[in-house]
Subunit: 180 residues, 2 copies
DNA sequence: TCGAACATGTAAAAGGTTACATGATTAC
DNA sequence: GTAATCATGTAACCTTTTACATGTTCGA
């Protein structure tokens, strides 16, 4: 599912600006999808040309003008189709696991650092997800938040429980041919 | 980290053809990175032009000719640098969680189907990871395999433990405005 | 006064997927 | 005989990122 389609979905929840949509990607969607301004604004523009969304300018007194987008009926149909049609999947790109996979090319210090970095990254994400209020959300959104919490917790726990062992095994395998 | 860089790493482990590299992506790397032939072959070609890998043709009696790639010294340096320099991160694109996020646009049957589909997808991935032998791997590779097992198990458990609740809440919120 | 937040957008480049094209061998 | 596996590659397209460009307001 591409960004254009995703934008339709977000606009089904409420009218929004490109900026708002970026916020949503950094907040509730953060643990399972990303998007940058450079893709969001062009996406909205195209969607409007296709008649799947409409926009109007809203002038705040103090703030810059906003272009507020709304979903059209055709847009909702399009999104619903895409949602039903897509087969559930998940793709992961993990720089962290690449680094672990090739741990033998890192020295002990670097390896320890990567592990710590990732643990604290997970902690930050968890803190955010756990701070979200349970109430204002639909059942589906709550599911995604709790799914995120469960999966990130599991990953952080794995790091905590296996770091010492990995580091010990790594030191054993350090032959002096690599690193300092 | 892009595909070209990743190929260098895989060639550090052993000489390989484009086909072999594709296999690795479908096997041990499957749970944290993907790549298609259409990106692998051009990547290897470019790496050879840059002097980071070399290749030789190997003629099997029965099988088609293979182009076996080897890592050069410069290639190893390049990869090691990239590995150390990159900051550990992880990005996820989950069609499944998008579907859950917008569960209110699905009917109960579709929702149940998506959940079941994802559960069985996780089961397949787990079966594969759990079938891998523990021994032949370096500490780092073992870490990534076990990390994958732990995180997929957590996600599958979450689905199993929360499916009934989600479905119940979903039925309650079904107002008749959407779906059948 | 200085940085963060609000707000929109473009252009070039990077990176990758999909589909196509080809063909032998092996296992069922 | 037919599907799967082995094996390599190209071309067109799609999508997204990065970097740039601009300007206001608010809080510390």
């Amino acid at each position: 599912m591409n960004l254009k389609t995703l934008c339709l979905g977000l606009l089904e929840m409420q009218d929004a600006t490109g900026y708002d949509i970026k916020q949503m990607f950094e907040q509730s969607l953060n643990h399972f999808h990303a998007a940058s301004y450079g893709s969001i604004y062009p996406a909205l523009k195209q969607l409007e040309q296709e008649g799947l969304v409409t926009s109007r300018i809203e002038s705040g007194d103090k703030h810059p003008d906003k272009r507020l987008f709304s979903l059209t009926g055709a847009g909702l149909d399009d999104f619903t189709d895409a949602l039903v049609e897509a087969e559930p999947a998940e793709s992961i790109k993990s720089e962290f696991l690449v680094q672990m996979f090739f741990a033998h090319l890192l020295n002990s210090h670097e390896l320890a650092q990567k592990l710590e970095h990732m643990e604290s990254l997970y902690t930050r994400k968890l803190d955010y997800l756990e701070s979200l209020p349970d109430d204002d959300f639909s059942a589906g959104v709550r599911f995604t938040v709790e799914f995120g919490i469960a999966s990130i917790r599991a990953k952080r726990s794995f790091i905590r429980n296996n770091r010492a062992r990995l580091l010990a095994e790594h030191r054993e395998q350090e032959t002096g041919t690599v690193g300092e």
